[in-house]
Subunit: 210 residues, 2 copies
Amino acid sequence: MEDKEISQAVISRLPRYFRYLGELKDEGIERVSSQELSDIMRVTASQIRQDLNNFGGFGQQGYGYNVEYLYGEIGEILGLHKEHNLIIVGAGHLGQALVNYMNFERRGFIFRGIFDINEKIQGTQIRGITVRPMQEMEQFVRENDIDIAVLTIPKTSAVAVAEQLVSYGIKGFWNFAHIDLHVPEKIQVENVHLSDSLMKLSYNLASHAE
Amino acid sequence: MEDKEISQAVISRLPRYFRYLGELKDEGIERVSSQELSDIMRVTASQIRQDLNNFGGFGQQGYGYNVEYLYGEIGEILGLHKEHNLIIVGAGHLGQALVNYMNFERRGFIFRGIFDINEKIQGTQIRGITVRPMQEMEQFVRENDIDIAVLTIPKTSAVAVAEQLVSYGIKGFWNFAHIDLHVPEKIQVENVHLSDSLMKLSYNLASHAE
DNA sequence: TAGATTGTTAATCGATTAACAATC
DNA sequence: TAGATTGTTAATCGATTAACAATC
């Protein structure tokens, strides 16, 4: 699918383009120029054109970009046209919150299973999904074509669980555990380190306080 | 506090240094060289030395860095020595999950109040903190020296609520709403856009699938 | 003193911005 | 055709890496 490697800086900006184009689409706007988008998004028009041209020429000279078409293309690039099957490992507050957040499903990220070591909650349901014991994880992953594991477990167990999951055939991790996973290169890891984010905010508050 | 502006790239790496140094400290390790840290963290030793030297010379030639001292200094730089008073706006699943996550308190981020428009949950408690109606927010923020507002509300209301909160004297936002807040320059915003993160993972899965 | 390792300058690399020819 | 705006090359800027003199 890729010709040359696209930098992560570019990829990080794609969901934001996608969001703004979705809004324009919902407003019924048909076309947008890089300059107009630049004004709304507060990035340079040059960057928008450069970013998009990593993936092909989506625009037309003298016209700009067709909003609906570009929205669709970026969705395609982001892989949102195909469904992803997810499991959540760790049914604590955060795990439950993610399961209950419907918008992920709308984008094709379907929670298929929930796993937890706590026997007390095993068998209970979260939004209709049964919480299962960890022992069932291997079979479940293999049988249900699970490609993404969401790790909402303490960092002490995250590394070992991730290693297991790799051996079961998991392709990517959405990692909320506060630790760096070391997995084979072909396995994708997207970290959400909430406390790092909060510390960054703290730094910026302190450095702008004077 | 700052002499010259430090780039956000450097600041984003500080919490990670802090985490690894904390681990080394807990293991009872006294000193570490940039090369040793480089091996553990998988970044270049050069980058570590450059990053740290933005804030001063914490090391000693021929010795390296004292783990405990450096850990303390980075904590100080990140502003973790002083307490922050937070409110959560939006007591949905995600808001509740954050309140229940104790580790933030350990770092000096104290949840003082929770606000929600849903009358049914107003008056209930989450980890001992009463859920209050939005009408009480202004007085609460002013009287309790609140500096950070955590926005776990839908994007439709986030912009208006943020604007209100700025007028009440809030200094920073930890924004989980899927929208870009436009606030005065001196107000700090740290975004956690979960669906953007998930889309990035999706892209990386698709582009490494072949 | 000799060895180790920092702090810092210089070189390189990559990402962003500017400019403009191509073209709708 | 004239005007607008892209796609793309060139210039600039900033961040990362390499190198090494300073120094513990």
